[in-house]
Symmetry: D3
Subunit: 135 residues, 6 copies
């Protein structure tokens, strides 16, 4: 009996979308207002889903308290109230689009999740834009 | 690295559920209050999801601004503030149930989405009723 | 110890904004797409608030079940799945704007609420547009 | 043309997470505050999804009114305003975790859904914790 | 320049509505399913609002982190994962209706809020039922 | 018959809370993570409420389309995708707390609202923190 358990968390951060190897005109054409060199920011809402068999002893796929702590330690500590471009090593050479942030979060969590469990990351950049990554 | 990017939009419209080849009694039995010949209406909330590889150059699966404009031009222009039965050609002989509206929206968007990308349409008829179509 | 108790309900309906004594051009200028003669519609979300002293015997300002039934009988029965312009007598000569619908709902409920209690109606025409009327 | 139709419902209930064959210390270590012997409770939000072909005659995969009534009769009647541990037979020897409640709900609904339709149950224990079961 | 700052929090709890001096029949007539002697429960969502002048030095009416900690220490510690009837002294002889819980929370917070600030408590018992108390 | 009409909008921005006349230690003590010199950011959700008599001719207190355009021109143009500290003149010497942003928005809108109408600004810095200013 496979069940997906999902936990919602949130962090906020500043970022800027651009490629350092492009000139300003090309960055503006592709990234528009998101290329503001003074940064803008978001309240990111994160939903982490872990799919696996229900443990017959506990009735849990994974203890939600453990998942909550894992998200806090691995994701919120790294990203909350940060400038993603300047302060998060993964984005030193990677454009912090919602897509790439979701992949980075997935990679941060994957080593800490039971290898037999599937992992899904849903990341809301705004209430109207969100992305889903399942590895 | 395949990611689904999702964009939320909305439109409102009037509609009526009925079959012209049925008598009123049969229409009422099957469609209930939704068969009101004077129409009723909804705020439809739409979530369009596009799944594909992240472009390594931009970090995008698909530019959200392009997706936003596409939804406005192909869906909102055609359906917003409309009477679906009377004013939208696709429903001239097709009952505008949430299921059928989702399929119509998917068909409107599909030609404009990169052929290698998967397309998903989620349509909320009310906050309590919604449908999902993936082609 | 005065407390406001609030109950959320919902109904959906078709409507059209226009004045019969104006020509089409003037109606379009003022009411825009809302003047579509074939109607459009909304999922209206309604919050009814009743303010009064807590009854020391029950701990209630007003029994929520009673308020729920009152909203169903007086508001949902009259407005749900209706064409407001054609089927609701109050709007025969009154433009069914959100403002006017809120006043009509308030007037429908007021006689059924304890005279010592204040009454508030909040009506969401869409998740982005709403109105508040307190008499 | 397969579509998933989804219907949202809700119930509230008291529960306690524990194993009678464990001592209090072990129950507290694994279940924490959820092991309170005097119970705590939740507003459970439930989304039931049914996937199948659109019926060409009605335009429905499944009549939402039928699904709504089914959820009320099979799920809400059994669980709403109940103590899950004491009053719901399925949990007499089964820990009422969100995972197990979702499976119990799925099993209650499955016999009443067309065998050619897939069934999905999403259960929110809180707005931040939810589970998904598809059989 | 008076501003109201509001902070959202949440807790969940079991409760039962009844009067010990009434017989079962009368309790059932007034409190219905909420009189279940085995308890039921809710996810309470709480919004605490504090109104006062903006401090010209900090730009704060009240530091949200202080308000967050205050709610955790005074409200969540006392009510989260509790049986309100059995474990919360204020409800030993007071029916734990939403109205009374809001007043109890207000009384717990009031001594810790600057005397020149107004205090408002909004308590959602469910997403559809909520109460507001301002002292 | 006075009614409040409310319109929801949104913008996102980067900001930093600090006083230039304080040293880093004092800024950190008072503003914590919000003092990050590299900035962080939010999706601000804005609700603008205008209270006045219903115009008997139109049924409007104020045309929502006019209010929507006013918010876009006066607020979104000035604040969306901006660094509040560096790019918005009002915050050159004013700490961009939620309280102060709400007052700035109110001051931007007030001259464009009918003098007989009351104006209210509700600003969500996050879904959990928000402020209300009524002048």
């Amino acid at each position: 009996m496979k069940v997906k358990v999902s936990r919602r968390a949130h962090f906020n951060a500043a970022h800027r979308l651009f490629r350092p190897d492009w000139d300003e005109q090309q960055n503006n054409r592709v990234f528009g207002k998101c290329n503001n060199p003074n940064y803008h920011g978001h309240n990111y809402e994160l939903i982490v889903g872990v799919t696996g068999e229900i443990d017959e002893v506990t009735g849990f796929v994974m203890d939600m308290k453990v998942l909550k702590d894992l998200i806090r330690n691995e994701v919120e500590e790294a990203l909350d109230h940060k400038n993603l471009n300047l302060e998060v090593p993964e984005f030193r050479e990677l454009n912090p689009t919602a897509e790439n942030i979701a992949v980075v979060i997935w990679n941060k969590l994957r080593p800490h999740i039971d290898g037999e469990h599937a992992l899904e990351v849903v990341l809301y950049e705004t209430p109207r834009n969100f992305v889903t990554y399942t590895g």
